[in-house]
Symmetry: none
Subunit: 415 residues, 2 copies
């Protein structure tokens, strides 16, 4: 059974946005063993979209579209699908209620265009949208299937997972199962070198390394007659990789490093405070994005100015004068200062030069110090990072969280 | 003259990588007024690639491919193009020398597979590759053009700029110029309703609304005989839109809302501090990502716990007890507290329920209060947001920055 992906949107043809939807859908289809031979991108144009349906159905049985379900007149995907299959569009009262409810909860009136989002080709299966106003739908007709999903990834992804994946299981032919290992503190090329023997001999399972924002993921993918068999095939390969990479592997699947650390903190009943200069709120923001952060996260201070470092954290004016705001001494005093002020077991600090301005020969852009106060003991780490401002800040954030993770691995449960 | 983009690579169909090449090529073609109606992705398979050529030439005169020029056996793009046009592959000595030279500079011997990278369809125009071993080529035959480029962006982009753009100028038919207006504080459907007349009558320029993470962008695209003419055509449409949307329009092009606000703060010589609960560092992080933030950003406090709200910001325990941490009163005291503690002109605060847990009937997930202290005067805004934890936090962040922007529009320069 093969599937074709059609992304609808003139903004894709103009290069305004990246087609992340097609990648996401492709990856998930591959996970369940459904083949994709073609992806197509077409603009907001009824005739061309209809032609794209025709071409696609000559070589595939299932089409999944993204985009073109919005409230404006150039959103045409459902209308074109209905025309293609000679179906009328009919109002779905339940969807209309949900859209009205959505606007009511925002204290706003429903827009005129939003009403058309409640119309669907007759007999379509409707996929509710928990994060926006455009429900999706599935049309089945003469052995062909058309699945329409909205374009914004924040709406498409949950709808795909909750509404489309369960639907597609009936077309599955064998099962592909993937397990993702998440790796931190080591670059992609070093990972590839360390596990070269595994990469060279791979057939089933396959192992694919992928670098992403300061982390590396390793996707182990096995094909089996059922999930159990596929999972069984993964076990020895995962074990071999873990033996080689040790605690560079911090988690599996979609787990983030901040989730791993948050769970460790909750487990060990430890409290955390953060004092950030160059990362300016990014570390706090990551921890607070973990639901349940209130169990351990007491306070974060973004002490970007020297004044705030002194007043809030008790960093000595002398330290700033003698060693500078970006120095191991300052990181040290920041970590200690925030932990003492917030009365927490742990204090994590960052200070660095994120660029593009502010670098000197002695202290170039990318120089970052991370301070870690842990129950009275303080450690400072010096980093030399590469890239633009956003990247330096992001990598410093991950390195800081990883430094805490490594500390916690060795720490005994206290309290 | 219209162009079709065909990206070749099974890794794209498996969702292993994002198709950034197609976006890049599309954007550049649009810059010079060449139209793209379709993009296609196809795997490393000769038969399917040939079919993709056939389909594409039924609707376009120029095909640009990316990928499939590598040294391995599954790299087939040139071979397939030659077959499609009935041309032999012939050795280009100059390219072979360049490939040998490339390996020599790496102190390595040329691989057997790399030799095939020096073979091209007869009469092809060859595009040298300064950053890798795969030269590109252009085939012209019977009014049709096929341009083959390598897949890695670090090779494709310079080759496109140096080899393809100059070649394409002869097919250029006028120039397309786009201007993007950035809109905040109003949803996509409302924007569309407000400028419905403009959207309905659009021909040249065209106007395309697009929703993205709590913002809306409006792309005005004009076609003219040169850039000057295209720009002139945009002026009245932009003016009309700005008249209707007023200060919902916060900027143009790639400007972010935090950059706009940062510039206003620097201009007016105002200082800012931030006290965040539910947004937990996201507001601070956005401001600090603006190079030059040290001119106005004094301090941010992530007071996620009640304890920190009381100790750091002077929020009254009574307020927390009587009204709760998520209340207009708490937002009020947080904004005032941070401004007083940090001695800043402005204090911005957030407190809310980001979910998924913690909601009640009176205070549901998505309820957020924003407090704004501005030189002694305090305003609080109540929001009802939708979506998952990340989305609620992100929209609260944008709303808070936008609230400050609106205040600054009306504020006189103060010292």
């Amino acid at each position: 059974m093969n599937v074709e992906i059609i992304s609808v949107g003139t903004e894709l043809l103009l290069g305004n946005i990246l087609n992340t939807d097609a990648q996401y859908i492709s990856r998930r289809l591959s996970d369940i063993g459904l083949t994709v031979y073609f992806q197509t991108v077409v603009g907001d144009n009824k005739e061309r979209l209809k032609k794209a349906f025709k071409t696609a159905y000559e070589r595939a049985d299932i089409i999944i579209t993204s985009g073109g379900l919005g409230p404006t007149n150039d959103d045409l995907t459902k209308e074109t699908g209905a025309e293609y299959f000679n179906k009328k569009l009919v109002l779905d009262e339940k969807s209309l209620d949900a859209i009205k409810e959505y606007f009511k909860s925002l204290n706003r009136k429903i827009g005129e265009g939003n009403k058309k989002q409640a119309y669907f080709p007759e007999d379509a299966i409707i996929i509710p949208n928990g994060n926006g106003t455009a429900p999706g739908c599935i049309i089945e007709d003469g052995g062909k299937v058309l699945i329409n999903l909205p374009g914004p990834p924040s709406e498409l992804i949950p709808m795909f997972e909750n509404g489309v994946m369960p639907y597609l299981t009936k077309y599955q032919d064998g099962v592909i199962f993937s397990k993702v290992l998440r790796v931190c503190g080591i670059g992609e090329s070093f990972v590839a070198e360390k596990i070269k023997d595994i990469l060279d001999k791979q057939t089933n399972p396959t192992v694919a390394p992928y670098a992403k924002e300061g982390e590396v993921t390793l996707r182990i993918t096995a094909k089996g007659k059922d999930e159990e068999e596929a999972k069984r095939l993964i076990v020895p390969v995962e074990k071999e990789i873990r033996n080689i990479l040790g605690d560079y592997v911090y988690g599996v699947g979609e787990t983030t490093i901040e989730e791993v650390v948050s769970n460790m903190l909750i487990d060990k009943k430890l409290t955390l405070s953060v004092a950030e200069s160059c990362t300016g709120g990014m570390i706090a923001s990551r921890f607070i994005n973990v639901s349940g952060a209130s169990n351990f996260f007491i306070e974060g201070d973004v002490t970007y100015s020297n004044e705030a470092k002194v007043r809030r954290l008790g960093v000595k004016e002398e330290t700033l004068k003698k060693f500078g705001a970006v120095s191991d001494k300052t990181a040290y005093e920041m970590a200690e200062g925030i932990a003492r002020a917030a009365h927490t077991d742990i204090g994590l600090s960052t200070t660095g030069i994120a660029g593009p301005e502010g670098g000197t020969i002695e202290k170039p852009v990318g120089l970052v110090y991370i301070g870690l106060y842990f129950k009275g003991e303080i450690t400072v780490k010096e980093l030399h990072l590469k890239g633009n401002r956003q990247r330096v800040r992001n990598e410093a954030t991950i390195e800081a969280i990883d430094m805490l993770r490594r500390k916690l691995i060795n720490a005994a449960a206290i309290k």
